[in-house]
Every structure is written in C-alpha cells, then in structure tokens.
Amino acid sequence: MRRRDSVTTYAIVVPFAIVLAFPFYWMLMTALRSDNDLYDLQQVPYKFNADSPTSANFRFLFEETDYRQWLENTAIVGVAVVMITLLLAVPAAYALARLSGSWGQSLGVGIFLVYLVPPTLLFLPLSRVIAELHLNDRLWSLILVYPSFTVPFSIWLLMGFFKTIPPELEDAALVDGASRLGALARVVFPLSIPGILTVVIFSFSLVVNEFVYAITFISTSDAKTISAGVPTELIRGDVFYWGALMAATLIPAIPLALLYNLFLDRFIAGFTGGAFR
C-alpha cells in the first residue's frame, strides 16, 4: 500500500520536476556550448558536441560586458527596495489588519489594485517624475519607483498573514505592560517571519525581473541592472548571443532558486497564511 502511494506520488511529482527543471538544464547546456555547436542542427541538442563544453560565453560575459557591474547594481537596488518595502508594508499591513476595522479590508483591496496597474502604462508619467527629481541614470530612480509595486502587494500579503495571528497574544502582552509597539516587536513580528520572508524573496525577485522601468530610466551601461543590461549588450540588432544570454540569466537564477528552496516551507506558509481567514 505504502509502495503504491509512493509510486503515485512520484508519478505526479517527477513530470512536474522535469518540466520545472528543464529551463535551468537548457540554460546551462546553452551557456556551455559554442556557437557552432549551438547552430548545428545535425547535432543532438541534449549533449555536448564539437568544441563544447566551453567557458567562452562566461568569459565573454565577464570580460567584454559590464555584467559584474550589473550584478552589483541589481543587488544594491534589490536590497534597498526590500528594506523600503518592509519598512512601509509591515506597519501598514498590521494597521490595516488590526486597527482599521471593516475599512481595513476595503482599503487593503484598494491598495492591492494599485499593484495591478501595469508598468507599461505608468512608465511615461513616471519618467516625468524621475526627470523632475533629476534621478535619470541613477539607481535611485529604480529604488524610488520599485516600491510602487512591491509595497501594495506586500501589504496585501502581510494583511492576510497578520490576521492569522490571534489578537489575544497581543492582548496578553499589553496586559503584561508592553506597549503596542513592544507587542508588535516581541510577539507579532517573530510569529510573522514566514510572511516577512515571503515579502523579502518576492520583492527581490520582482526587482531582478523588472524590465520596463530599468530600461527607461537608465541608459548608461555602467548604471544598468541585469534585466536592462543583458538585452542591450547581448542582443545586437537581429543577432542574439544565445550562449552568453543563457549564462547571464543562469547566474542570478541559481542563487534565487536556492533561496526559494532554502525557505520553501516558510515561503508556502507565508503565502497560505491568510488563506483561511
């Protein structure tokens, strides 16, 4: 019986795992293959042929482009945006979940709706704002704009999460002499780690993936983030540098994937935290 269960489990999980892991495998294979190998249709695409594997694509990426700088810029923007998001979203979500009664829910939905306005609509008016602030070509332009979509989603997510924490716990802390802030810091936050972690990972991923603002607000090569720098330098006219492109996307994808895996349980808890309330 147990054997049958495990066979069923694997029968369901393995195809999913293959489908989800395939892009990583394909990226790795392409990144390690020479152009000649890549463009030769006579060769089997799932194994290395001719002059592959090669590190040429990685060398090109690090020696011929500003990739290292783009990675650094992405990390700076990512960390700053995550910090701003936490700073704004955690108290806002807590206030909406606990303090504002029935208004809180409607307000939360309203804030979430802001998240749904696509950057393709917003980038034109926001370019004006960025220009007025003299932030063009500075990472600060992205640090300022990205929270406009990370904060609403994070508030919405954390609101659900805070609602799963029984208010009685805070009441007990208040009775014991803690202030509202003290109760928040000593009782609510420690219990909210999965939700906060979800916000951290989610916001950071959004920043790494974002393209429209990154390409619009920054044009100097050494101030670009990965999402803007890679297509600029590795797609030249109608020629794609496939090997280098795959290497460039694989490098940030691996730590992000590891991060997701490391905190998978907490991540799931964060997303499903408010699902039943």
């Binding site: 463009y39 030769d40 249709l41 500075r138 990472l139 600029t232 006219g237 109608d238």
Partner: protein, 465 residues
C-alpha cells in the same frame, strides 16, 4: 586639581566598544560610504563620471547596440573621444537594444529630458513636432560632400513642412541572402520572384524552405513592402495618398500565399527580428532578406556553409525591381536638448567624413551622403579584417545601394502616416491573413485599406502630409 585625563580608565573604554558596537559602526560606515553617493551620478559614488570637467560642454548621444560590437567600441572609445577633444566637449554615448528604441524615445519625450542626439533606426516622422529642423545641417554637409542619397532625403524630409526632421547618417542595404549550394541543386538562381516560387517546393522538400517573415517585426515589414514594390504596389502615391488598394497588391498577396504554401513553414508567422538570422545560420533556410548580419555572422562563426552564402539584389518581379533599406540611421535633436549647438556640429562632422564608420561597421553602415566615403566600390572589393571573410562577397552591395534601394513609403516620402503603418505592422498582418487562408487577397487588401485610411486622415488633418 586633578588632571581630567587621569580619570579615563583605558580598560573601560575597551569594554565600552563591544563587538556589537564595532559591527554597528562598521555597518554604518559602510552605508555612508556606499550610499553617500546619493548626490553623485550613481548610487555607489566611485569613479567620477565627468573626468573632463575642463571641457566646455557635454553632448549626450543614444543609439542602438550595433550589430558589430567592434563598431560600438570604435565609436565610443575612439571616434567620439577624438571628436570631443577637438570640440572641447565631453561626449557620452549610451546604447540600447534596437527593439527598445521606441519606448526609450517615448519616455524621453514624456519627461522632456534625455539625450541631445537620439538615433532611430527607421524614419521617426511622427516626432516631427518634437524635434528641431536640421535643414541647416543637411545644407552644410551637402556643401562639403555633395547631395544626400535619395533614400536618405526621402526618409528624413517632409515636403509639406519643408523640414528635415532628422539627419540620416547611414542606412543598411537589404540584400537577398541565399545558399548557392542548395539553389545549385535546384538549378535556379533567385534573380526573379518567379524563380523563387519555382524553386520553393524543391527547396522545402530538401528541408530548406524560403524564409520571409510575416509577423510583427522589422524584417517582415521590410521584405513584404519590398515585395509589394516588385509587384508595382505601394502604400501611398508620391503625394501621400493611400494607394494600397491596387492590382499589384492583390497579385503580391496571391504570390505570397502560393510561396508560403509551396515553400515555407508556419513558423514565419511567429518570427522575431532574429528568427531569419537564426534559421539561416542553423542551415535551415535557403533564402532570406536581411542586412549583411547573416553573412557576417556566418563568417564570424566560420560555418560549414559560409562560402555557399551569396548576396543578391531583390528579385525581379512584374513591377519595377526595387528593394528597401534594411535600417535607416536617423539622428534627431529633441527640442529640449541641452546642447543643440554641439549636436549639430557632431552631425555635420559625421555626415562629412563617414569612411571610418563605413569601414569599422564592416560595410554594414552605408553613408547617407555617398560623397563622404571616397571610392566605395574599390573599398568593397578589398578584404577587411573580419574573420573568415569571403572574398568578393560584398561588392554587390554598391549596386544594390545605388540601383535597388529606396525608402519606406516609396514613391512618396517616409512621412508620419507611413511611420504609423510601419510601426503597427499593418503590411505583415495583411500578408499573413492571406497566407494563412483567413482572408482572400481582396478581403485582406480592403481590411488594410480600412485600417490605413484613418491613419492618413489623421496626419493630413495635422498638416504633416
């Protein structure tokens, strides 16, 4: 009276600086160091951006990431630096992917800030009111090196407003690339569209279909408008009246439907600008229309069929034999540009002496002012340092550029209506509808006419055509 210093207990001081304090201070110091650059050009204030503060002005240029990386290197590191020193100006060049040029332009216009010189790769007629007239720049260059090529003039001049809204410094010819080995087996050459249609079934059966895109991308636009011209069909008349409803259009649509059914595959409906390059370089296609990026990439990769790739003019059809430029390099100076004087001077200089650009782009950039590069045919006959270059491949470009290259919108000008038709990909959509069997040629032609009518009306009302 005791000396105050005596009271200081050294051991206590040590105790006060705990590890936590040390870490806290180090972190604070790090943050100040890293983010102290808030006022600088980037968050991390490292290398100063303006190394030439002694120069009188700054000129900011944005253009595409050129197909030839070495060209960008030469342009950024040698050409503009030399020009900057000679003109007491710091020149900063930014690059952007070809596909991102329109959104970048839109954002610069919306924010009324950005670069002094913005290079488009197709005539940006719709921006005429946003840019300054460059008639004086064109006049100065023409005085020095002679007339601008017709393709350049018709791509950047508006006869209605009598304004050069852009300055064409270059264009790329759009030759046919074909595999001589495969076509040799069929016993034909793609000199006429009829030959292409005749050879297509056998080429497809050999596993090497014809590759002309019918999707929303640049190469499809170019190839299909050129095909229309070869059937005597045009989007507009010389005086900018819509002319898409014609026998020539119907014939071209029917021809393409037959060509697709006999010798192409359905992937052409989902192509991007790189798809014909990729498919050709992978050895799948027997024919494609493109700038020389296909041939050059084959050389660089030293593909096994590199020597079998031939360049040829657009095939002859029932109408006049006339192809298009593949990309048209057009600089504009926004009205809000900070350094218009330097921008104009830069354009005059680039237009007057284009040899370096022609050679460093490995013949990709043809001069819009033919007189700015001496003896183009002889230069095309000489080998360059490009790896695995096939001798004798490129002289044909001279004839193609002179005889068989015209502007989008021919026989009229590349006006704002043409720009909109072009950027909405109405021509590829019209062809795709017929090739897929969704509409007859007549229906598709009428649908395209319906879509284009308000566009022409709008721009006529705005007095731009």
């Amino acid at each position: 009276m005791k000396d105050r210093r005596e009271r200081v207990d050294i051991s206590k001081v040590d105790d006060e600086l705990t590890r936590r304090d040390l870490l806290r201070r180090a972190a604070l110091g790090g943050i100040i160091l890293v983010y102290g650059g808030m006022g600088a050009k980037t968050a991390v204030a490292g290398v100063p951006k303006y190394r030439h503060r002694e120069l009188a002005g700054t000129l900011r240029i944005i253009q595409w990431s050129h197909f030839v990386p070495a060209y960008d290197k030469w342009f950024d590191d040698i050409y503009v630096k030399r020009w900057g020193r000679a003109n007491d100006t710091e020149v900063r060049v930014d690059h952007v992917n070809l596909a991102e040029l329109p959104s970048r332009a839109a954002s610069e216009v919306a924010s009324q800030s950005g670069h002094d010189l913005f290079q488009f790769l197709s005539p940006p007629s719709a921006y005429e009111d946003r840019v300054i007239a460059l008639n004086d720049v064109v006049q100065q260059v023409e005085k020095k090196v002679g007339k601008m090529a017709r393709v350049g003039r018709k791509s950047t001049y508006n006869p209605r407003t009598k304004k050069y809204f852009g300055f064409a410094d270059n264009y790329a010819p759009d030759p046919v690339h074909y595999r001589a080995d495969l076509w040799g087996e069929v016993g034909l050459r793609p000199t006429t569209w009829d030959n292409v249609l005749r050879a297509a079934p056998r080429l497809k059966a050999m596993g090497n279909p014809i590759g002309i895109g019918m999707s929303n991308e640049l190469d499809s636009n170019m190839a299909l408008i050129a095909l229309l011209q070869c059937f005597g069909a045009y989007i507009q008349t010389p005086d900018a009246h819509l002319a898409i409803k014609s026998k020539g259009t119907r014939d071209a649509l029917n021809f393409m439907r037959d060509l697709y059914r006999r010798g192409m595959t359905s992937e052409v409906f989902a192509w991007t600008a790189s798809s014909n390059n990729d498919a050709f370089l992978a050895g799948r296609l027997s024919l494609a229309l493109n700038a020389i990026s296909i041939a050059r990439s084959a050389e660089q990769r030293n593909l096994r069929f590199n020597r079998d790739i031939r360049l040829a003019p657009i095939p002859d059809g029932p109408g006049p034999r006339m192809g298009l430029e593949h990309v048209m390099g057009v600089y504009v100076i926004w009205k809000f540009a900070q350094n218009k004087r330097a921008a104009k001077k830069f354009l005059v200089d680039i237009g007057t002496q284009y040899t370096g650009h022609f050679l460093n782009s490995y013949f990709y950039n043809f001069p819009a002012f033919p007189g700015s590069v001496k003896n183009i045919p002889a230069r095309l006959r000489k080998n360059t340092s490009y790896p695995n270059e096939v001798p004798g491949r490129y002289p044909i470009l001279d004839q193609i550029s002179k005889k068989w290259t015209t502007n989008v919108g021919h026989p009229g000008y590349s006006n704002a209506a043409i720009d909109e038709v072009f950027s909405k990909f109405l021509i590829p959509q019209m062809f795709a509808r017929v090739a897929r069997g969704d509409m007859s040629a007549d229906e598709a032609m009428r649908a395209a006419h319906r879509e284009m009518t308000p566009i022409f009306k709008k721009w006529r009302a705005r007095k731009k055509i």
